[in-house]
C-alpha cells in the first residue's frame, strides 16, 4: 500500500505515523534477539555494553565465553543429550505422524475431526499439565529419569506439528497417482516410498524440523521427567538463569539463534519447493 497522490496533509501524517509505529513494533520483535549476539563477545563478565565495546575497541571483544562453553563438560554433555533426545523423538514423531496423516487425508476416514482434535491437543494443553501428569504416570511405569521417558514425552509434543504439516501437504495430493501405481502392480509399501513419499517429502521434512525444534527447546517436561543424567541444553540454561547467570549463557544463546536462522532458511526453501512441486505460483 502506498499513499495516493491526492492524500490530504492529515492523511500523510497518519500514514507516516502508522509506518513508524509498525517499524517500532518490528524493532521490538527483533531487537531482543539480536542484542544477545554482540553481548556474547564481551570481554568482561557484564550483560551490558562496556565503554570499549561502544568504541569498537578490539580488546573489549573476546571469545572467552565461547571457550568457556566448549571447555565446560556440563554444556558439552547437555548438547550431546539434546541431540540424542531430539533426534530420537523426531524420528518417532515423524514416522508415526506421517502414517497418521496419510490415514487422515483419506476421504473415507471415520471420525476425522475428533481424531484430529485429539492428535493436536499436545500443542494446546499447557505443557505444565502434561509434565505433571507424565511425572506421575511415567514414574509408575518406571520411565521417569530415563532417556526413553524423555524421548517419548518429546515425541508426543512434536506430533501435532508433523500431523499438521503433512496433512497440509497432502491436501490436493492427487490420489489417482497411488491408484495408478497399484494398477501397475506396485504394493502399498513400494507405492509409498516411490510415489507418495517423494511428493510429500518437503512436508515431512518440515514437520520433522518442527518436531526437532520443539524437543531442542523444551524444558518443562525435562524438569519433571528427566534426571540429572538427561540434562539438555535448555535445562542447563534454565539452571544457569536461575542460579548464577554467567555470560556463557549468551554464547550458548547466540549459537541457538544461529541454529534457528538455519532452520528458518531450510523451512523457507522447503516451502518454495513444495509450492513448486504442487504447481502453485510463488
Amino acid at each position: 500500500m502506498s499513499l495516493p497522490s491526492y492524500a490530504t496533509p492529515l492523511e500523510r501524517v497518519g500514514f507516516h505515523s502508522y509506518r513508524l509505529y509498525c517499524f517500532g513494533v518490528l524493532f521490538f520483535l527483533i531487537m531482543p534477539v539480536l542484542i544477545i549476539i554482540p553481548l556474547s563477545f564481551n570481554a568482561e563478565p557484564y550483560f551490558s555494553f562496556t565503554e570499549g565495546m561502544l568504541n569498537l575497541d578490539s580488546s573489549a571483544f573476546s571469545l572467552r565465553w565461547y571457550a568457556d562453553m566448549v571447555n565446560n563438560p556440563q554444556w558439552v554433555n547437555a548438547l550431546k543429550n539434546s541431540i540424542i533426545i531430539a533426534s530420537a523423538s523426531t524420528l518417532l514423531a515423524t514416522t508415526l505422524g506421517t502414517m497418521a496423516a496419510l490415514g487422515l487425508s483419506r476421504r473415507d476416514m471415520p471420525l476425522r475431526n475428533a481424531v484430529m482434535a485429539l492428535l493436536i491437543s499436545p500443542m494446546i494443553v499447557p505443557v505444565i499439565i502434561a509434565a505433571a501428569g507424565m511425572y506421575f504416570f511415567y514414574t509408575s511405569l518406571g520411565l521417569a529419569q530415563t532417556y526413553t521417558g524423555v524421548i517419548l514425552a518429546h515425541a508426543v509434543l512434536g506430533i501435532p506439528f508433523v500431523v499438521i504439516t503433512v496433512t497440509a501437504t497432502l491436501t490436493g495430493f492427487d490420489h489417482s497417482l497411488t491408484r495408478a501405481s497399484a494398477n501397475l502392480g506396485a504394493g502399498p509399501v513400494y507405492t509409498f516410498f516411490k510415489v507418495t513419499m517423494p511428493l510429500i517429502r518437503p512436508g515431512v521434512i518440515s514437520g520433522g524440523l518442527f518436531a526437532f525444534g520443539t524437543s531442542f527447546d523444551e524444558v518443562v517436561v525435562v524438569l519433571f521427567v528427566s534426571g540429572a543424567e538427561q540434562r539438555t541444553v535448555p535445562r542447563q540454561m534454565w539452571s544457569g538463569i536461575r542460579e548464577q547467570i554467567s555470560p556463557t549463557i549468551l554464547a550458548v544463546a547466540t549459537l541457538l539463534i544461529v541454529m534457528s536462522v538455519l532452520l528458518l532458511i531450510t523451512l523457507e526453501l522447503l516451502r518454495r519447493r513444495n509450492a513448486r512441486m504442487r504447481g502453485l505460483r510463488e
Binding site: 531482543p32 553481548l39 505422524g97 487422515l104 505444565i128 534454565w238
Partner: protein, 430 residues
C-alpha cells in the same frame, strides 16, 4: 477411467437378477468398509502412542485431583467408627480409644507425619495436635491402662484442650472418603466446614481465587497488547509488495523460531537493573535512578508479549492477505472518511483473524510457565507456577492436580471455541 467404464458396462448387461444385485451391493459395502479400516489402521499406531504417552498421564493427574486415600488407609478404624457420628457433640469414649490406638501404632511405624500433614491442610494446628497426642499416648503402657479404665477421652483432653472441640474430629471425617472434592475446593478457596458443608476459606488463607483472576487479567492484558501491536504490523505485511514484505516477515518469524529460553534470557539482559535499557535511559538523562523492570509483573508482561506476538500477527496476516484492497478504495470513492471506512469496511472483514489470534494468544498465555518462573518474581506468578510449586516444593500433589484440572478445563473450553470459530483443520504452523 475408460477401462472402468467398459468393465462396468459389460457387467451390467444383461440386467441382473435380485440376488446378484444384492451380492454386488454387499461387495461394495465390504470394499468401502475395508477402505475405511485401512485409513483407520494407519492412524491407530499414533492414537495408541498419544493415548499412552499423553492422554493417560493427564487422566492419571485428574484421578489424583479427586483421589485421596491417605486418611482412610492410615486411620481405617477411626474412619469406620466416625461413620455414625453426627458432628453435633463429642464422639463417644470408644471412638477416642480407637483413634488413640491408631495414632500410637502410626507413631511406632513412623507413618504419622504424612497423615498429620494432610489433616493439617484441612484444619490448621492438626499436625502439632496429632504428634503431641501420639507422643504422650505411646508412653509405656499408657494406652492399655487408659482403655482399661475407660478414660481415654479425659486423658486426651488433658493432653490438649482442642480434643474437647469437635473441629479435629470433623477434619478427620471430612477427609475420610477415598474420593473427595476437597482439593478442588481448596483450589477455589473453599473447604468443608465442621458440619461437612462447603464454605469459604478464612480470609487469610484465600489465595487461589486472586491467582486465577490475576492469571486471567495478565493473559487478557497480553492478548490486548499483542492485538494493539500486531494488528497494524499484520496490515503492513499484508499490503506491502511481496518482495519487501518477505524481508519484514523474516523479522517476525526469526523471534518465533528462536528458543523460548533465549528470548527470556535476552529480556533479562535488557531489563535488569544493570541492563541495557537502564544504561540507555541513564545515558539519555531520562531517569536518574535505575528502574526495576524485571522479576515483577512488568517483566512478565513485556517478555510474554514479545514471545506471543507472532501468534497474533500470523493469523491476522493470513486473513488480511485475502482481503481485496478494492473494498477500501470503493468505500473511499463513495465518500467515506478513512476512519469510517476502516471501522465499517475493513475491521469487520478481519474479525475472524482477530478471533483466531486472540484465542490462540490467550490459550498460550494462561498456561505459560517458563517466562513467569524466570522473570516474574513474586508478583508475576501465574497459575502454572503454583502447579509447579505444589508439584516440586510443597509436594501437595493433590492440590497441584486440582489446579491443573481447573487450568485444563479452561484451556479445553477455549480450544473448543477456537475449533468452532476457526476449525483445527485450518491451524497452521510457521
Amino acid at each position: 477411467m475408460k477401462y472402468e467404464a467398459i468393465t462396468t458396462s459389460t457387467l451390467v448387461e444383461p440386467p441382473l437378477d435380485i440376488d446378484a444385485r444384492k451380492r454386488l451391493k454387499q461387495q461394495l459395502r465390504q470394499a468401502e468398509r475395508w477402505n475405511r479400516s485401512k485409513a483407520f489402521l494407519l492412524v491407530v499406531p499414533l492414537l495408541l502412542f498419544v493415548g499412552i504417552t499423553f492422554v493417560m498421564p493427564i487422566i492419571e493427574m485428574l484421578h489424583r485431583s479427586v483421589y485421596d486415600p491417605l486418611v482412610a488407609d492410615s486411620l481405617p478404624r477411626t474412619v469406620a467408627a466416625l461413620k455414625q457420628w453426627d458432628r453435633q457433640q463429642l464422639p463417644e469414649e470408644a471412638i477416642y480409644a480407637v483413634l488413640a490406638e491408631e495414632l500410637v501404632s502410626l507413631q511406632e511405624q513412623h507413618e504419622l507425619s504424612k497423615v498429620a500433614g494432610r489433616l493439617n491442610s484441612e484444619y490448621s494446628g492438626m499436625r502439632s495436635l496429632l504428634s503431641k497426642s501420639a507422643r504422650r499416648l505411646s508412653r509405656k503402657d499408657t494406652i492399655t491402662r487408659l482403655i482399661d479404665t475407660g478414660s481415654v477421652r479425659t486423658a486426651m483432653i488433658d493432653i490438649d484442650q482442642r480434643w474437647s472441640d469437635i473441629a479435629p474430629w470433623a477434619a478427620i471425617k471430612n477427609l475420610s472418603s477415598r474420593y473427595t472434592l476437597s482439593y478442588y475446593l481448596a483450589a477455589l478457596d473453599m473447604r468443608y466446614d465442621e458440619n461437612g458443608e462447603i464454605s469459604a476459606q478464612p480470609e487469610q488463607r484465600q489465595i487461589y481465587k486472586t491467582l486465577l483472576l490475576k492469571t486471567f487479567a495478565i493473559s487478557a492484558l497480553i492478548t490486548a497488547l499483542c492485538l494493539i501491536l500486531g494488528y497494524p504490523l499484520a496490515h503492513l505485511l499484508a499490503t506491502l509488495p511481496e518482495s519487501r514484505s518477505n524481508l519484514l516477515m523474516i523479522m517476525v518469524l526469526l523471534p518465533f523460531w528462536t528458543s523460548l529460553l533465549v528470548r527470556t534470557t535476552s529480556w533479562i539482559v535488557l531489563l535488569q537493573t544493570e541492563g541495557v535499557i537502564n544504561d540507555v535511559l541513564i545515558h539519555l538523562g531520562l531517569i536518574s535512578e535505575r528502574l526495576r523492570m524485571i522479576h515483577n509483573m512488568f517483566g512478565t508482561v513485556i517478555a510474554m508479549t514479545h514471545i506471543l506476538l507472532p501468534f497474533m500477527v500470523l493469523p491476522l496476516y493470513s486473513v488480511m492477505k485475502n482481503i481485496s484492497p478494492s473494498y477500501m478504495r470503493a468505500a473511499r470513492s463513495l465518500g467515506a472518511k478513512p476512519g469510517y471506512a476502516f471501522i465499517h469496511i475493513y475491521l469487520p472483514q478481519t474479525l475472524p483473524g482477530i478471533g483466531a489470534g486472540a484465542i490462540l494468544t490467550f490459550i498460550l498465555s494462561i498456561g505459560f510457565y517458563i517466562t513467569p518462573a524466570l522473570v516474574g518474581g513474586r508478583s508475576g506468578q501465574m497459575i502454572s507456577n503454583f502447579i509447579a510449586y505444589h508439584m516440586q516444593t510443597s509436594l501437595n500433589w493433590g492440590l497441584a492436580a486440582a489446579l491443573g484440572g481447573i487450568l485444563l478445563a479452561m484451556v479445553l473450553l477455549l480450544y473448543s471455541v477456537y475449533n468452532r470459530l476457526v476449525g483445527i483443520n485450518n491451524l497452521k504452523v510457521g
